[in-house]
Symmetry: C2
Subunit: 356 residues, 2 copies
Amino acid sequence: MCYSFGQKVFITTSIGPTLADTPRSSPSTLLDVARRAGVSPSTVSRILNGTAKVSDDKRRAVLTAIDDMKFAPNQMAQGLKKGRSMTIGIVVQDISSPFFDETLRGVDDGLKGTGYASVIVSGHWNAEEEADRIRLLLARKVDGIILLSGRIDDDTVLSFAGQRPIVSTGRAIKTRTALGFKMDNEYGAYLAVRHLIELGHRHIAFISGPTNNTDAADRLAGYTRALREAGIAIDARLIVEGNFHEASGMLAMNRLFDTGQPFTAVFAANDLSAYGARLALYRKGVRVPDDISLVGFDDLPGSAYTTPPLTTIRQPLYDIGRIATHALLRVINGEEARGEVPPLELIVRETTRRLR
Amino acid sequence: MCYSFGQKVFITTSIGPTLADTPRSSPSTLLDVARRAGVSPSTVSRILNGTAKVSDDKRRAVLTAIDDMKFAPNQMAQGLKKGRSMTIGIVVQDISSPFFDETLRGVDDGLKGTGYASVIVSGHWNAEEEADRIRLLLARKVDGIILLSGRIDDDTVLSFAGQRPIVSTGRAIKTRTALGFKMDNEYGAYLAVRHLIELGHRHIAFISGPTNNTDAADRLAGYTRALREAGIAIDARLIVEGNFHEASGMLAMNRLFDTGQPFTAVFAANDLSAYGARLALYRKGVRVPDDISLVGFDDLPGSAYTTPPLTTIRQPLYDIGRIATHALLRVINGEEARGEVPPLELIVRETTRRLR
DNA sequence: CTGTTAGCGCTTTCAT
DNA sequence: ATGAAAGCGCTAACAG
């Protein structure tokens, strides 16, 4: 039964057969097709793979047989035989974060038309779990792995790369089968803070990311460099730690106010924490950008629709996904992997303003 | 090479070996393990699967061999033999939408510890493409399919269900191998509009979803029912069509103003279009909720952090994912699939206010 | 151009 | 309790 009662929805189904014990309309095999078309299995295979010339009449016979029987080659059998599963593994840290979404979209587009499918697993920001998931992918015989914001160390990546090619973001490695590339986070943060300084701000707070995260550390470095270059002293009270999530941005903002230190602008280490900071500001009745300027980092899709739209550092998330995919595919095929990731750039929207 | 130059990042790698032509540290097979442990392959298999009793000494020998050789069974071979790939297919419509994200998170959690992995494909809101993707999944021998917001018609689903069990959202089907359940969208919309009416609003605009979408149609129905019940005449000029995306919400809002019809509240058919509408309002200098009340539908994770936080109808996206997964797993195992999806509910946040 | 044969790595009767 | 042997569905020599 499946009935909707008022607002509740119940679903039930009677006891059905097991996947194992019911052949269903058991899918036809290549052998079935061969028999039906009156040819040998190899001929069918050859047509399927374009491996060799086949006479037109046989080809026609096979093609119609395939059509009639709605035959589709069993990918597991193909994979077992060819040693290629035609699937690649993607390791993300959070299956439902707009950050990874954009990259995944790039991967998806990069895979389009290649015959490859992807299985996505999450490391949940945890090195142990991440390594486990990678082992799982390897057991599944994925042909390659894309590691996004990996937590495991480079040596571990390298050892996995002994089994299958890996391309990873956020690390600078390069061997025969492992390739990594990282964005210049320090530079991005520098850009953000310099923008604020150019607008006349001198008291600029920073909501950092988790200290154990290299991207976060790089962004902090960019923040301090911009300040130093402008001859502005670093005030430790204006730097509070967040964890890249909305709630932490909100908390951080409140802590900033609690210190009593004056500031006219805040740079959040990522958009998500900027959203949280924005809410804290709203709750306090502080106007953005009139009273406080705010800049984020990432340029998530939603950042163009916040109120007001967020000034931020754009990460080419989609491109990273596409480029990583292309690179991996090339390595898998023994070609030279080469790619250029667009640089980080400042997107000035409406949360920053010149200090009068 | 992998070098970072200023802000640009270049990646290159020299020509490497093909996946095919390099055995790498070719993974050990079950046979290798058997030889090393001095037993037959069957014994190893039995230990791996717990299929039969094995003497303690042999078991120990095998286990250490497995450890030494870092053996992991080839899933393709296992799958081919057992007729189970331990993979399920997930069909979404947009690989990077917060809407699907939440559901995917539910699926991911539902799969945790089951040994199943998922391959996610996107139908891109297109029935043709969706059917294609499903065929691909079937060729990959997924053990079951979860179809989220499918575009294909029920008959097509049913025919696919002949090959593998399918559970789908947004449809009321129920056969031996196909199970669908849909949320009561009409009721949800009704809830939203009634809330507005209770707050004293009489002129309530509606930014609809695409007219060819059943969820959108249901929500429109709920809107009209609430109005009718309250004795408020439906004003066609207050209903404008959107397409569920931010930009369309923004456009719709502007069109609403262009009509010149007065209104004090707007109900957007989903959160994304509410975000767009919110921006249009901001641009026009219209305050929310002081001048105009706004309510959305979905309760995306971001909706708690908009400025101000969005009043909306909560869809139990995560639960839907989990429940669908459990149901599918049960069908796969020949058990009775049964589940209850939490009802839609109104979440009152800060974008609605009582009309003075 | 096409068929026959031998596996890919694993599980599973069937004997013992 | 354990091994031998057959085979899942496909591809790739190897003959012809």
